[in-house]
């Protein structure tokens, strides 16, 4: 379960941003996330939809304890992300489009490293690693250096890294960006499997096809503010345009 209450995250504008004249900036500051509230429930997929620079990644980083909120509160698996950040990180798995792998390690070394960081017992780590490697087809290249693997293979290792400690909450930040169709499909399958397994899933994207394929709940974020937050079915019911994409554009342009 993820509960986000009145979350705001402000950043100082960089020199480049000042030159670009960020539209929703207030003086030297900009609210990347402004007074945002939503909740993600176990066994459901929550899609966070927004154009580039909308605040999706900032919101996910706040949930994953990488950033501290300027105001508001986030609870992940019952733990506060500021006061109990260590506990939150034990229960969370985080996957981004950039694989985030050590090129000089092998998949085995990489997965064992993250398993140990999560305090897994050797026997459990070995079993879980074996299961994931079989499921994702990593066994055949488990001993090769990651730098020599294809992008599809790397993404599989990245998924195994995210799942090794069997987290209750999964955060996917634009997980299919830059991937080929086959690899992207396998990631979408994995996200669906997580829902079946009763996990809490939040994923950010700007690809409408993924939203319609996966979403149980949907939030649209633009310039740090939520424009919509309800179920996907409710969104489809109240749509004023023919397609999801058109409706998304309409809402963003109206904001």
């Amino acid at each position: 379960m993820i509960v986000v209450e009145n979350l705001t995250k402000s950043f100082r504008l960089s020199k480049e941003q000042k030159k670009e004249k960020v539209v929703h900036a207030q003086g030297n500051k900009v609210d990347a996330v402004a007074d945002v509230s939503f909740s993600c429930k176990p066994g459901r997929i929550f899609s966070l939809l927004g154009p580039n620079g909308a605040g999706k990644t900032t919101a996910l980083r706040l949930i994953a304890t990488m950033l501290r909120p300027s105001s508001g509160r986030i609870s992940v698996a019952g733990f506060d992300t500021v006061k109990e950040a260590g506990q939150v990180r034990q229960h969370i798995g985080f996957l981004t489009g950039s694989t985030g792998l050590y090129e000089r390690l092998t998949p085995t070394e990489m997965i064992e490293y993250y398993g140990r960081l999560h305090g897994m017992e050797p026997a459990l780590l070995e079993k879980r690693k074996g299961d994931l490697f079989r499921l994702l087809g990593i066994e055949e290249f488990a001993g090769r250096r990651i730098g020599k693997l294809s992008s599809g293979m790397k993404q599989k290792v990245s998924i195994a890294r995210t799942m090794i400690h069997d987290p209750q909450v999964l955060v996917f930040d634009e997980p299919t960006v830059g991937l080929d169709v086959i690899t992207a499909k396998s990631i979408l399958q994995l996200i669906r499997q997580c829902r079946t397994d009763g996990k809490t899933v939040i994923f950010s994207t700007h690809i409408m096809g993924e939203v319609s394929l996966l979403s149980d709940d949907l939030a649209i974020i633009h310039r740090g503010r939520l424009l919509y937050n309800d179920t996907y079915d409710a969104f489809i019911r109240v749509m004023k345009t023919k397609s999801l994409e058109d409706e998304f554009i309409r809402r963003v342009e109206e904001a």
Binding site: M66, Y102, R104, Y114
Partner: protein, 399 residues
């Protein structure tokens, strides 16, 4: 502690698989030391040999013949007397290299000698090369011998001995040991290698483990792991420090091996040099390298994590190399010694302390001061680095 160990072991494994880091740790110290040592020794020896064996083109200008002086000049058989040059063209011919030396006696030289007066003899040469400076010594020796001969003749005429013009004979007795003398010379070179290699050895791992991780996206996944920022920083810091220490030790080892294998150092001198490198000195040097590498690691990691990319980190860190060399070079200047004030200046204190350790003249109190300064600096560096890693604006700069 368990997480810190896990991070340290992983970072160490990752670092030891990086070819660039291994090159900086092992191959580069050897190449630099081997090339500097061999090139400088060979060039120095070749230059001295050329200066000694070169046939010097010398013109002698005097009102009358000076057969004794000319004979003295030609005894070495490596002096060719040039009689074709006009006196008016002395400076020009020496300047354009046709002549190596021109010796000009005054017009009234013989009369002044007979009058028992003092003559001025001018030697024209070009001091723009070290080779000419060495060749000048050959001419000076001949002039000195000729002067001595003239003086002896005068004294004989007056029935006097050489003691008459030499009431005091100065005998200099240097009581410094060979170790002290060699320590000052060798000790000037050693800190140069130690400091530079501590820095270079720590440089690439620091860039790779911070800016490199940001660029590859691994920093993000590491920050979501249960390891705290402090554990992540300290794990990386220890690996970068270890790399600096290893590189410095590798440079000392290469220096020892290159000296030992060298055929250019006379065996007697080599024996003295090898005796200087005793365990006590090595332990003292090693104990200074640890805090120095820790300080470098903290600074380099802080800069590296601030950088948006590997490239930006390199462009910020490269000029730091020069800043590091400056205090080392100041330490090599003669006259600058380790005292309560210089012991407070980082890097300069290492440079000066190394000389004294090798010479065996280090004061225990000053050694303690140097250690304290280095440890305080390393601790401050680590505290700064940890706080820096905790700043969102730094760690997510450009991510």
């Amino acid at each position: 502690m368990k997480l810190l160990t896990i991070i340290f072991r992983k970072e160490l494994r990752d670092m030891l698989r990086d070819r660039r880091t291994l090159f900086f740790m092992i191959v580069m110290p050897f190449l630099v030391i081997f090339l500097i040592f061999n090139l400088s020794m060979r060039l120095g020896m070749d230059m001295e040999k050329r200066a000694q064996e070169k046939e010097l083109q010398v013109a002698v200008f005097a009102a009358g013949p000076l057969p004794e002086f000319i004979n003295m000049l030609q005894v070495s058989k490596k002096v060719k007397i040039n009689t074709t040059v006009n006196k008016k063209e002395i400076e020009q011919t020496v300047q354009n290299g046709r002549l190596d030396f021109a010796i000009s006696f005054a017009e009234d030289f013989s009369e002044t000698v007979d009058r028992e007066g003092t003559n001025e003899v001018q030697i024209y040469y070009k001091a723009s090369t070290s080779e000419n400076e060495m060749a000048l010594e050959r001419i000076r020796k001949v002039m000195e011998k000729y002067k001595q001969q003239l003086l002896e003749r005068r004294l004989q005429k007056k029935n006097m001995t050489a003691a008459f013009v030499e009431p005091i004979k100065i005998v200099e007795k240097d009581v410094s040991s060979i170790r002290e003398k060699m320590g000052q010379r060798l000790g000037g070179m050693l800190p140069y290698f130690l400091v530079i290699f501590c820095f270079l050895g720590a440089m690439y791992p620091a860039i790779d483990l911070a800016a490199g991780e940001k660029e590859r996206g691994t920093m993000e996944t590491l920050l979501v792991s249960p390891a705290s920022r402090l554990q992540i920083v300290v794990g990386k810091f220890l690996v970068v420090t270890a790399s600096g220490i290893f590189t410095a030790l590798s440079s000392v080892l290469w220096l020892y091996l290159v000296f030992r294998q060298s055929r250019m150092i006379p065996p007697g001198v080599l024996g003295v040099i090898l005796k200087l490198i005793e365990w006590k000195s090595l332990l003292l040097l090693f104990s200074m390298i640890i805090p120095l590498c820790a300080f470098f690691a903290a600074i380099l990691l802080s800069v590296s994590v601030f950088a948006k990319s590997y490239k930006e980190a390199q462009s910020i860190i490269t000029p730091l190399n020069i800043m590091i060399i400056i205090p080392v070079l100041i330490g090599i200047f003669p006259g600058i010694k380790l005292n309560a004030t210089t012991a407070l200046i980082p890097i300069l204190n290492i440079s000066l302390a190394t000389k004294e350790i090798i010479a065996g003249t280090i004061s225990p109190l000053l050694m303690v001061e140097v250690f304290l300064v280095l440890f305080v600096l390393a601790a401050l560096g680590l505290i700064f680095c940890t706080r820096w890693f905790n700043r969102e604006a730094v760690i997510f700069r450009g991510v």
